[in-house]
Symmetry: C2
Subunit: 322 residues, 2 copies
């Protein structure tokens, strides 16, 4: 016999009344509430969440889909977990490590009602394949998916990139190289377009031959720096896909006795804690706020209640690498 049944019997009340007390329904006499509450405490009762979930059809769990975790993803996750908790939701992490099958598991979990909703940080499956899952629950993406079915909380990358470009040019740097992330990503495309149009508009050289792609980690940054150093002429500045890449470039530059920023200015992206410590100039990315917005988007569906969203913006943080 379950504790629920015990409470029923001991209190003399019915299932429904016990359930009402558990869920703080106002339509219960003080006497009943008191009696049942006492017995609940005495029995150290706590509802079985599986039973609740089965009955209500809601698990109060939300999944975050990512291929890997770094400080950026982490900042997002932490804020998301916090916000979700304020609304009574818990968060599951799905790390796919780039495996399509594993990633799909998260979406299947939406179908099988293990989670009520999903947030996509990174995604290796084709957007079209994911459309089929939209009917099973709300899905929101961090980056743009190039897919209108799945809304995103992505920001205008071009705005951030222009901030960096304006800063560099105002400091007198004109030969500007780029260490991009994933070549095909919409983020990279936006940034590249921002760069090219900005340089053209200002009559500055577009260093296409200096484009480097897939520069994510500090190790990637090191290699990128080595390639730059081995080239015929060093650019005056380099814009990085993120701060890790910037730190790698900065570190390797030091080893090669290239003075920063005199010989090479470096601008990171995202503004992680270490770039503050190491003094890397960067573009502040309001990650936490995006996480909050991501949950609010889900809540709009789950709670059937729209929350107003504020417009977020990037911000230049000038430190000692420019």
């Amino acid at each position: 016999m379950s504790k629920f049944d015990e409470i029923m019997k001991k209190s003399g009340y019915s299932k429904a009344t016990v359930s009402r007390v558990i869920n703080h329904s106002p339509h219960v006499s003080d006497e009943a509430r008191q009696k049942i509450t006492d017995i609940m405490k005495q029995l150290n009762y706590i509802p079985n969440r599986n039973a609740v979930s089965l009955s209500t059809g809601q698990t109060k769990q939300i999944g975050i889909v990512t291929s890997a975790t770094n400080e950026i993803i982490l900042t997002f996750m932490n804020q998301f977990i916090d916000t979700a908790m304020d609304f009574g939701f818990q968060t599951l992490i799905y790390t796919s490590r780039g495996d399509k099958e594993i990633e799909l598991q998260a979406f299947e979990d939406l179908r099988s009602k293990r989670v009520d909703g999903l947030v996509i940080m990174t995604c290796v499956n084709h957007p079209d394949k994911l459309k089929a899952y939209c009917e099973y629950g709300p899905i929101v993406s961090w980056q743009r998916m190039g897919n209108d079915e799945i809304p995103s909380v992505a920001m205008d990358q071009a705005q951030g990139y222009r901030l960096a470009l304006e800063h560099l040019v105002s400091k007198g740097y004109t030969r500007i190289a780029n260490a991009f992330g994933r070549a095909e990503s919409l983020n990279t495309q936006s940034r590249r377009e921002a760069y090219e149009s900005f340089m053209v508009d200002n009559g500055l050289p577009v260093l296409r031959e200096a484009y480097q792609y897939s520069i994510f980690s500090s190790s990637d940054g090191e290699e990128a720096m080595r390639r730059m150093a081995s080239g015929s002429d060093l650019p005056q500045a380099v814009l990085c896909s993120n701060d890790y890449a910037a730190i790698g470039i900065w570190s390797e530059a030091r080893k090669q006795n290239i003075r920063v920023p005199e010989q090479l200015a470096i601008v990171g992206f995202d503004d992680i804690e270490l770039s503050r410590v190491l003094g890397i100039t960067t573009i502040h990315n309001p990650i936490a706020e995006q996480a909050t917005q991501a949950f609010h988007r889900l809540w709009a569906v789950l709670g059937k209640q729209e929350l107003q969203a504020q417009q977020l913006e990037f911000q230049l943080i000038e430190r000692s690498t420019t």
Copy 2:
């Protein structure tokens, strides 16, 4: 009508047989299996996990309890999530931010059968309070809890610390300072004792007045360095609670024009990726292996099957700060 019922009706078989096919029971005729499988595919069927969990009493979910997340915790979490997935388990993250009530939520979730087991990374509630939850499911801790009810996968901190001390002494550094973590933690105690006995055994000075506590982040490290620099005489070397602290100290030392390692040697702890990039000498901590062991401990209970555990050891990684 649920899809399960649809399958029943369309196939003409009973609940039980359908369930057998779903769970790959061998006691089903090929004909029945074929027919039911076809209909399942046709209906795009997937079992409702809440119903399964309610019926079996297992959620196949495990919670990780932590107060915050950094690269170390992350390394552990990632490996744990991976290992757990290999065994068909999913992982929930409970970040308490040091709030006892929030942390307790994780343990209540064990009680309410939302998770089958729990891993404690850090814990702010008193160990005695947690003992009460052991009856609801397996709990394993990363660090030692000072509580025999809750097993841990903690390593011998003293062994790792001695590695660093031997290395420093062999390099000729004898005036060695310490930047510890949480003063009351068992880890810190072990390390401090290792330091004191090692120094005494080797006839070297024990710099008690140079003990610094609560040095966790790179910011903490910066401040620790400033305090050291403002003191009467600089130690020759400093042992850090982790690599973040080491990086902070290293960075601030550079700003103060203190040459590393000539004027000050620095040894980190844990061996995160950045200490490789920045060239910080450190003690490699086999975090991922500890995560695997943590899951195996839980699996010993959940799967009723013991897995052998190998003895793990710290390792010195010499780089350019010593």
